[in-house]
Amino acid sequence: MTSLTIYGESFLLSVAPGIPQTETTSDAVVDYNFLLQWKQSEVDQPQWMGGSSAAATSRANNVSCAANVTMDLPHQGYRPTKPRARAAPPTADSILFDDTSSVAPAMNNQGYYTPGYNMAGPSNDMQGGAVPNNMFADPMANAAMVYGSSLANQGKDMVNKEISRFMSVNKLKYFFAVDTKYVLKKLMILMFPYTHQDWEVRYHRDTPLTPRQDVNAPDLYIPTMAFITYILLAGMALGIQKRFSPEVLGLCASTALVWVIIEVLVMLLSLYLLTVHSDLSTFDLIAYSGYKYVGMIFTVLCGLLFGSDGYYVALAWSSCALMFFIVRSLKMKILPSLSSDSIGTGSSAKPQFRLYITVATAVFQPVVIYWLTSHLVR
């Protein structure tokens, strides 16, 4: 299982256990990063060298990686960075996916689109950028590679267009712009929220800050990972009790998913009916309702390690922590300054209802945690 190194949009790679941090991951990330840079370079300027500029700059900024031994670039001195530097202000992508884990501040000053992550990033950027230039000596293979990549690019554009009809991909990207520091801090807050002082979600010129820059911002990375980990853990727990079969895994997964969907729908319905004008989008609600999987994992682990007593103690602990967390987080969003609106027509019961929604959501969490984990720990 890889560490908490984040690959941004290629997060799926970190899920699969046992993939070593060598050529396999770097190949897959190469292609994707390569295509990303390709697309980005097409957006900024339609020239084919755009990708290598980002590669060159990121290489200068990041530590070297073992995987890049064979792919060392001779054209490190070639820096067509000036056109990119003079380009428009950095797109949302560059702000989202700059590497903030190792080089803490001021990544935005670089301004270039560098999807460079901790370990395998720089080499992949280089490989991505270098491939069309001097990968193959044979020009035919070169041309074929270039043609293939342009085909892949078109396919990617088409898929993006179709998907963006149903949901805004940029909005989704916002939720996955996390880094290791954020994930660790957030997990700490989820398990022990009592010492966290400031629960305000910070804004930057009307747009909420990405999770990288603001610990209070909701993200979808932790819920997704926790959900998958929960399913694997459920399989393991059932296997320990010799009750495992592959169908059970699918059943567990779909049950958990259905509960999430039900909860999100009920929340949306209640927010709509009570005309609560909050800025909670659907993804926000999915994020907040996915945070309970962290508590579930903790509970199941304690139940497996320490038996039935450990299970109940962990259940009580994570329920309280999660209830506190949900109430404090949603209070900021659902119960805004009551002096601004709500002076209009009737419904003096509104502040009450908002409180009811928040508390009901909070109380719903332990119920679901108990429901979904009790059958795993006997």
Partner: protein, 80 residues
């Protein structure tokens, strides 16, 4: 209570069908008639919101429901 995705789909179809076959006048008599109020101002109130929701669901889902129900009938006849 083990849910499958199929049961979720079933529930959704049944609920939307229930909203679609609702008789508005008889429903409104028992619910409190708020139809005259256009809901101007900040908050239309819960009842007006429910009515708006029901009306919009009926308008939007009429045609897709026909398609989905027919597909359901065919599939259930064929596969039980």
């Amino acid at each position: 209570m083990a849910f499958t995705l199929y049961s979720l789909i079933q529930t959704a179809i049944l609920c939307i069908n229930a909203i679609a076959v609702l008789h508005e006048e008889r429903f409104l008599i028992g619910f409190g008639v708020d139809q005259g109020v256009g809901g101007f101002g900040d908050d239309p109130g819960v009842k007006a919101q429910v009515l708006t929701l029901i009306r919009s669901v009926r308008t939007v889902m009429r045609v897709p429901l026909i398609i989905v129900n027919s597909a359901c009938i065919v599939l259930l006849l064929l596969f039980g």
